[in-house]
């Protein structure tokens, strides 16, 4: 599983990444997290707002800092 956090480096993107890491740790998954800050790459995903969460190439959450619980649910599905 590959997880990407899309965001140019504002506080929200860091908060999302923190929640993602916590969720992954609690689920005990072996997952690679990438934080994408490059605007061109982010634009390719077609998201309207950052932060964005991408799991295995599919955009799952846009524009809000998902809670650890929400992320856990996403990753377990």
């Amino acid at each position: 599983m590959e997880v990407k956090v899309l965001g140019p480096g504002c506080a929200k993107c860091h908060a999302l990444e923190k929640n993602v890491r916590a969720a992954i740790q609690e689920l005990g998954l072996n997952v690679e997290i990438n934080h994408v800050a490059d605007i061109k790459t982010i634009a390719e995903y077609g998201v309207f707002m950052t932060p964005g969460l991408v799991v295995d190439g599919v955009v799952k959450i846009v524009g809000k800092v998902a809670t650890k619980e929400e992320i856990k649910k996403l990753l377990s599905a």
């Binding site: 965001g7 504002c10 605007i39 061109k40 634009a43 077609g46 707002m49 950052t50 955009v59």
Partner: protein, 370 residues
């Protein structure tokens, strides 16, 4: 959330074991309403007693005399800081709830394919109510273009969203009165609409960077999970408002406090009319200079408005100072740098130029009218 997960959570927080989902949401809603009412009452209590509280603290608790410079300054400070913060909290919360009705996805759908004049007006107005974070400026810009929102209309949105924000309006209202706040909002919206209109007329679509043009011309809009939650329940909307308060007020309060402190200091210690020479009504060149200085600067509204108020007290012309403030909030060097990745120099130049000229005109207008 499915029933199983909800019930699992309830058990783990030591709630009674046999609890149905319906009971949960009802209790949670009831809790929201009760604590909401309690908070509102507390807010009101604090707000209406601030003046006497500030006087009490300044003159009874601290050893200051009335009618002195220091006394007046400290009283002003102790009065204004909590007052502004309380007002901000309330307004940000209410605006946050209003914004929960206007997701960017919905705004995009309203604006896509609108004919030009209507589009600019709508875009300007929507910029005020659509939740907007400045780091999302580029994704939003591109998302709109991809979805068929005309370039000029998108620009109208891009100008109004950061400039006409509720923090600025609250502070202006508090320090200058509702007329000034309204005037700021009106002129800000006008500048947004005119900017978009000019860019539409100049047909500058070809001046987007090639990679942007390529992506946006594909015309494929992705579904935006999490962003098109238009059917939120009230509990979620309240959470949206609370999140907005946490995000904005917690970020902004040091600037507000510092700004008011500096303002209070200028208030108490700089002699009247000190600035009349360089920034007063007589100095006609002050408006363009103030705007040109303000454009590259980066600040949020919170820190700069209290300083603005103090400057005005000391003889600076109102229009000059307001134009300076608009210039600082509307554009900045970091923003220009980010936009340069998306716009070719000519388009970026037109955008900056129109906004700058618009603000200068508004500055002169304010100087004449007020």
């Amino acid at each position: 959330m499915d029933k199983a997960t909800v019930m699992k959570q309830e058990v783990s927080t030591a709630a009674p074991a046999a609890v149905s989902v319906r009971d949960n949401s009802f209790r949670r809603k009831g809790t929201y309403r009760f604590s909401g009412a309690a908070l509102l009452a507390l807010w009101w209590l604090l707000y209406t007693n601030l003046l006497s509280l500030s006087r009490f603290v300044t003159y009874e608790i601290l050893p200051l005399q009335r009618e002195t410079h220091l006394g007046a300054t400290v009283e002003f400070f102790i009065y204004e800081v909590p007052k502004v913060l309380l007002l901000l909290t309330l307004v940000v919360f209410v605006v946050g709830v209003i914004r929960s009705f206007f997701t960017p996805e919905r705004t995009r759908r309203i604006l896509a394919g609108k004919r030009e004049s209507a589009g600019h007006v709508l875009a300007g107005l929507l910029g005020v109510v659509t939740p907007f974070c400045s780091c999302s400026a580029v994704p939003l810009f591109m998302g709109f273009l991809t979805a068929g929102v005309p370039l000029g209309v998108t620009f109208s949105f891009l100008v109004s969203a950061p400039m006409v924000n509720e923090v600025a309006l609250v502070l202006l209202f508090e320090l200058f009165g509702w007329k000034v706040a309204l005037l700021y909002m009106g002129t800000g919206l006008s500048i947004a609409m005119v900017t978009g209109f000019v860019i539409s007329r100049l047909h500058m679509e070809t001046y987007l960077e090639d990679w942007v043009a390529e992506i946006t011309s594909r015309g494929i809009t992705q579904p935006q999970p999490g962003l098109d939650d238009e059917h939120m329940g009230w509990g979620e909307r309240i959470r949206f408002g609370i999140d907005a308060v946490k995000e904005i007020v917690l970020k902004v309060w040091p600037y507000v406090t510092l700004g008011i402190a500096v303002g209070a200091g200028i208030h108490g210690y700089v002699p009247e009319n000190f600035l009349a020479g360089i920034m007063g009504k007589e100095a006609w060149w002050a408006v363009p200079v103030a705007v040109l200085i303000g454009v590259p600067m980066y600040s949020n509204a919170a820190g700069i408005i209290p300083v603005v108020q103090a400057l005005v007290q000391k003889g600076a012309a109102f229009g000059t100072v307001l134009a300076f403030m608009m210039a600082v909030i509307a554009i900045s060097t970091p923003e220009a740098i980010i936009l340069r990745k998306v716009l070719k120099p000519r388009l970026l130049g037109v955008f900056l130029g129109v906004v700058t000229v618009g603000i200068i005109i508004v500055g002169y207008l304010f100087n004449i009218v007020l």
